[in-house]
Symmetry: C2
Subunit: 904 residues, 2 copies
């Protein structure tokens, strides 16, 4: 029989800290904290397996779970000496969700459960505080009505507001017990009116209602959206934590707080957090009241603070990572309610990882494992240009807030998540401005450039969510006076309307009017340290996709160890050294395409030769000592000709031919499915003179560089091959030109001839193609298109449905972003095996977009590729992912093997 | 050491009749005839391996070959008692090509080799016929000059004509020895002038020149073209046969002939052939002189004829097949020069095969093996409609000729092979009319509808080549007066110009003016016999691709055992029962596509439901008792909407919407690569209501048919799937609708749900897809497109280069015609293995165009598919190919195994 419920309390726990998948992060943290002797209120966790069963069986609880809950509840009552629903000494519990991955505020919580018209009197009696008891009761009724029964929150708040108006008070704290009693009656009447049933008095009924609501919240729209945005998949569901209530709102000797063992923004080793006096936990996260800093708390309650400091040290030592903790102080007694690995900014992630290695808390491999690929990406997010005129800046400053997530963002102001989504859809860049954000806003937060809130601290919803995404965020900017109805806000005496530009500086917590120029960030010193460690650990080489000397140089800075894909056709469009001369190249390629004889084509190609040669020289020099893989002409020729009549006329004039000639050729070149048409090496088969010119440019450039003592390693790559014989024709054509030039120059110039593997047939016949090709490079963009029969240009119409969990949900992720390892990956595995069986030293790489995708890089490592090639800015991500793959492989190898490896 | 030369003579031979690959057809035949005691002049054969070596080593002869030739020549001299170049008693030889597959007239021959200024006197002396000797000599000089040295034939013939003019004679036979001597001198001067060297007197030099020329002719343009047209691949090269000369032109007691052991047109068991008195062999084949029939010869030379009759019987018994023989009579003595399996018309092929089984000459399996798939295709070639008004016919009759190849053809007259190719290229149907055809004409002959020649008999070049292709051909039509220069001909007093329509009746040998109506042929009784035998022998089932009740009925007549592919979208275009009502369906589908809500789509689909249901009922009835696989909607939706503004306006009007709405939707649906776009089951994922309507129509039709006691076996097929989860969604959607209807109707209706395998990913993941799909059908059209990255619509621009042996020659054949077994086939093999591993009783078929291609059918048999599906007219071809595959498999199994089977 499966166990569904796990108890914890008084120093013992059935669960463990590493059972997150089973107990959720919160449940596992509570169990672990209990085990290591921290002050944790007792309770029990209903497992995620129960949630999974719930959804797989028409929303029914698994058999046996009810009995287990009853048993756990009895045990909880025994430990606490209280009874659920008892009129004298009632047990109150919180019922909280908690899945294996943190989903801040996405799922439901019910507090103070166990209160009814009788037990509330018991609380009033035992606390001697009637007002507190009825305040807790009204909070419970409100939460239960909205969360479990689904009544609209606004209607209940309306009643709260009306009551306060009747009493003539402004703040909740001013409401007396009588006022709360009135409100509770009012709430219950409303409940009866809306549901046709009385508000449940039976605590058992309340408990099961709450458990059902927590399970139900797993599939609520906002939770599903969040998982989609965060690409969280593979979880069983949420656990349910039923825990004895402790109260932070019993007076000024009570309170509640959220803290981090280190600063989550900078990574500094300082104790960092917020504390709200006389408040319940949710108040901090909701960001409605701006809390005090921990230092302040240290002054006010030094004993509790000292205890908290010890907890901090113990937890960090125990978990060997920065922790994000929730605690409550009830009448001067500290209770830990949650601990989890804390979210952090990219810079903090690097800083902490490097520090912890220095502190010998973790090893280098752990440190490298801790960095998320996205951390690197976000590290390069722009900042406001340092050299901007400071005086001008000051004039534009609108307001100061709390620097929740560093970076900078420029966008047009919108005041709702929905507007953020709509404006973004039509191509606008927006900054989402809210008083505070709530879980319903995640869609809009995800698309915004940055987030700005008027309230909340660094632990508010807005800050936590934005930090997870590394998205620039300023919170607690109380100078903002937002008027949602008028679609505007005021700050510093200025009115900012919806659609006006503002700029956020998340690192300093500043808000500017207008669009400020953004620039590149300064990388934290820990970045270089971590990347060095990563480079030492990885096996996979990392190259770059670069078509120009500029890109090549940039990529070297980013740590690229060569070029994996240099697309020669881009050189036909643009002169990167002298952009104003681009038209000369364009005209030559157009002349070549319009030529009607081989001789005329060769004449036009001769004009292109010096351009290509010069570009190659620049690239070879930038890559001195590193290999450069050059792909010969790939796109269909029609892409080089103008399709509009006017431009055709212009071209005809320049070339001294008729416009009909141009139009006819464009028509001739039109294809029903250009992706599967006359392109790639098929062009070289039809027009060998193109291949000859390109090889000549490459080899002549290489010879010239070699003379200047540059170390050149050219690799000539034929695209879109599908057959050994075809490859042989291309290889012979290539070598004929190259050998002649090399012999004439009387030099020694090693070079390689290879091919892209981007058609299923090429992968299938890799064994025979490797007889000719000296290297393979997987062109996974096209390989994905052909293997899946998916045109990247057209898939927008239905691929979202295929990826969306709420629609068909067929793919876990977009196969153009992350390799389809099951399908495309199987072909790659086959090709590597067959290719190396023919040619054991076959060099194999990947040069599709996937070369910069961490998951795909990991797969490439597993396949034993020699290198991945990524765009310059993704090179560090690939370096990290490659290191992580190598570390994981080592860890896997250490694990005892369970079964024979199922891989083919 | 490899042996390069094989001797034969006086009853003994080093070669054998079944060594065609090594000795060529001619060499193997000569060896075999020698072995079985037939009168064959002695000689030797240089093997095809020597030719292969020649081409693989820069046109150099293999080491040792020269010595072997010298040895064989010595042996020949010993046997004949003559010496090459001897001034008294010289040996003369013929040097002929001969490859493993007959290539009539495609390669070179040199006769009378060994003649020079001295040895010619020996011949004159030994024959006592100086004129004959010098005639032979001038023929040799002419052949050598053109064939070996490559001088233009016209220039030499010019000189011949000039000489005759000088002498004032018209016919060659009127030229005296002196005249020939003059001409020889003239030829030799011309030779010296053109080549700068004297004509070779040394017979050894002559011999090696001739051998080189024969090898060279293997790669001559006409030979390469012929092999391409005939799809002859995998041969090593040509053999060279050096044989003692015998002369059919020594007088009226000599002659030369070609004969068949049975009538190659009708298949009748009669001795059939042509004989030319006092002529050399080439004269018959060239078709310049019209020869006498064999009966005539029987009267003139009864002794020789009787001997020939015996040879005929012996050879047919020996080879167990109809033979095509060449012979020469030299001064009353019969010499057999060649025997080979004779080409025959399709009807003759069936007739002979059935007859020979009855005669117990061969078994049923042999008989089935003897039929070429193309024979069946050609059997269905049209004939002139039998019920045509006979009087009208008579008036249109232009001329009578010899019925060389049966069938009928209509086309526009052209007078050159080049025009035939050009006119066909621009979409015209042509009849090629020539005085006689020559090997240079094969390109034009291949594209013409039919061939008509003024000269030649049934064994002329035109007849032999056309018969091989089953192409309607009339020869020896001497009433035609062709004027090549004026591009016209006269016949029966009428002038027919280039471009005028004529009709050929190849069965009767008649030529008509204008376009006569063509109809279906009457099949020979042997057809049914052979097909019955084939059906008994095959394992593979044969279904058909049919979209209408009419096609379904036709396919049943052709022997289809069910429908493998019923494309439902065709039903959206056309009402096959009431074509005038097609617009109703079109409008409904267009309305569905233009709808903006699910409700509106469902409304439009409801209109389509009764149409589809009615079509399905018709199809089920036609296939009573046989399975019907119905593919749900496949093409992209834009195909159903008009793309021209005018038609869009019309449609908008009919539907009461704006033309902008229509245009916008067309624009929305436009795709860059529709082949890889929103089509196939992706439509059902996006619009489940389409799937629902179609399943409803199928199941309702099936229920209705079942009530009428029709046995229905519906198989519902989802196109373009690529994933198990996707397949699961489709399957569940299908079953939900079907089960509900079946339950409501209270019937039992077995049906299957399966999928096409037409994307590489589907093939790769076949194991998981088979968890859901009950059957697979390989859609090899799309599977070829995606696996090879080849758009069928666009490949015309470069695929011909890929298939053309003279260009890149990368593929042996067009992969859209014959399965790419190496690439696409590998995926199929994998999918069958993986699919059946999951579901052992998985039914697997193929429904691409390849289902009717014999080579592909054979591959499907090997893969162990359950069935192939072909278009109705290709069903018998598939039945035959399936039987032949089964027979071959049996034969292979009997062979001793050489090595472990290399197949994956």
């Amino acid at each position: 029989m499966k166990k569904w419920v796990y108890f914890f309390g008084v120093g013992k726990a059935e669960g463990r800290g590493d059972w997150k998948d089973l107990l959720g992060g919160k449940g596992a943290g509570l169990a672990e904290m209990t085990r290591i002797g921290l002050p944790v209120p007792a309770g029990f966790t209903i497992s995620t397996e129960a949630c999974d069963h719930f959804y797989k069986n028409g929303r029914k609880h698994p058999p046996g779970m009810r009995q287990e809950v009853t048993k756990a509840l009895t045990r909880l009552e025994r430990i606490t000496g209280k009874k659920l629903g008892d009129p004298q000494n009632p047990l109150l519990v919180s019922v909280r969700s908690g899945s294996a991955r943190s989903m801040p505020g996405m799922m439901e919580t019910i507090l103070n459960l166990g209160l009814n018209d009788r037990s509330v009197q018991g609380i009033a009696g035992s606390t001697g505080n009637e007002r507190f008891a009825y305040d807790a009761y009204r909070r419970f009724v409100q939460m239960y009505s909205t969360v479990v029964t689904g009544l609209p929150k606004e209607h209940l708040e309306e009643r709260l507001r009306a009551m306060k108006q009747r009493l003539g008070v402004k703040e909740d704290t001013q409401v007396s017990a009588v006022g709360w009693k009135d409100l509770i009656r009012d709430y219950k009447e409303y409940f009866q009116e809306k549901t046709g049933a009385a508000f449940p008095e039976d605590p058992q009924e309340q408990l099961w209602g709450a458990i059902g609501a927590v399970f139900g919240s797993w599939m609520a729209e906002k939770a599903v959206t969040y998982r989609r945005v965060e690409k969280i998949t593979g979880l069983l569901g949420t656990a349910v934590n039923v825990v004895q209530m402790v109260f932070g709102n019993t007076g000024d000797n009570s309170g509640t707080g959220v803290c981090f063992t280190r600063d989550p923004s900078s990574g500094e080793k300082i104790f960092y957090g917020d504390y709200l006096v006389n408040a319940q936990g949710e108040d901090v996260v909701a960001g409605i009241r701006t809390p005090m800093h921990l230092e302040e708390m240290a002054k006010r309650m030094p004993r509790v603070y000292a205890q908290l400091e010890k907890v901090r040290a113990k937890l960090e030592r125990h978990y060997r990572d920065m922790q994000d903790m929730e605690f409550t102080v009830e009448d001067g007694k500290l209770y830990m309610l949650q601990t989890r690995t804390g979210k952090r900014t990219p810079a903090a992630a690097f800083c902490m990882a490097a520090d912890m290695v220095r502190e010998k808390l973790i090893g280098k491999e752990d440190a490298v494992q801790r960095i998320q690929p996205a951390d690197i990406e976000r590290l390069f997010y722009p900042v406001i240009k340092a050299n901007a005129d400071t005086d001008g800046l000051a004039k534009k400053l609108l307001a100061r807030g709390i620097n929740a997530v560093p970076g900078a963002a420029v966008g047009k102001v919108v005041f709702s998540a929905q507007s953020a989504e709509e404006w973004t859809e039509r191509g606008e860049k927006v900054i989402l401005v809210r008083r505070e954000t709530s879980p319903e806003d995640v869609g809009g937060m995800a698309v915004a450039q940055g987030i700005l809130t008027a309230t909340g601290g660094k632990t508010s919803h807005a800050a936590v969510v934005a930090r997870g995404w590394g998205k620039c965020c300023v919170v607690g900017c109380d100078a903002l006076d937002i008027d949602y109805n008028a679609h505007q806000m005021q700050a510093g005496g200025r009115v900012i309307r919806e659609g006006d530009w503002i700029t956020l500086d998340g690192s300093e917590g500043l808000v500017y009017q207008g669009q400020l120029p953004l620039g590149n960030p300064t990388l934290p010193p820990a970045y270089a340290t971590l990347m060095k460690w990563a480079d030492e650990l990885r096996r996979l080489r990392v190259r770059t996709n670069a078509d120009t000397p500029q890109d090549a140089r940039k990529a070297r800075e980013m740590g690229a160890e060569g070029i994996g894909l240099c697309r020669t056709e881009h050189m036909f469009f643009t002169d990167f050294e002298q952009p104003e001369k681009s038209h000369e190249r364009q005209l030559a390629i157009q002349e070549m395409i319009l030529a009607e004889t081989r001789e005329a084509r060769e004449k036009a190609l001769a004009k292109l030769l010096p351009f290509q040669r010069r570009d190659f020289i620049g690239i070879f020099k930038a890559m001195d000592g590193y290999p450069v893989t050059i792909r010969l002409l790939d796109p269909p020729l029609h892409e080089f000709l103008p399709h509009e009549r006017e431009k055709q006329e212009e071209l005809a004039k320049k070339l001294g031919i008729t416009v009909e000639h141009v139009a006819r050729r464009v028509e001739q070149l039109h294809e029903a499915n250009p992706m599967l048409g006359h392109r790639g090496c098929r062009l070289a088969i039809t027009y060998p003179e193109i291949l000859e010119m390109q090889v000549r440019a490459i080899i002549e450039a290489a010879i010239e560089c070699q003379r200047e003592k540059v170390k050149v390693i050219p690799e000539i790559m034929h695209p879109l091959t599908l057959d050994e014989k075809e490859m042989r024709i291309l290889e012979q054509g290539t070598r004929r030109v190259a050998e002649e030039l090399i012999a004439k120059a009387k030099v020694k110039l090693p070079y390689a001839v290879g091919t892209m593997i981007e058609l299923p047939r090429a992968a299938l016949l890799a064994g025979s193609i490797a007889k000719v090709a000296e290297f393979f490079s997987f062109g996974t963009n096209d390989l994905t298109q052909t293997t899946m029969g998916l045109s990247r240009d057209d898939a927008g119409r239905f691929l979202p449905d295929y990826v969306d969990e709420k629609k068909a949900g067929i793919f876990a992720s977009d196969p153009f972003q992350s390799l389809d390892t099951a399908g495309v990956g199987l072909l790659m595995r086959w090709a590597v095996k067959e290719g190396r069986a023919t040619r054991p030293n076959l060099k194999v790489g990947i040069c599709g977009e996937h070369g910069g995708d961490p998951e795909s890089v990991k797969f490439c490592h597993e396949l034993g590729l020699n290198y991945v090639s990524a765009s310059p800015f993704r090179v560090p991500i690939a370096r990290l992912a490659a290191a992580q793959a190598a570390i994981q492989e080592k860890l896997e190898a250490k694990k005892p093997k369970k079964k024979a490896n199922g891989k083919r």
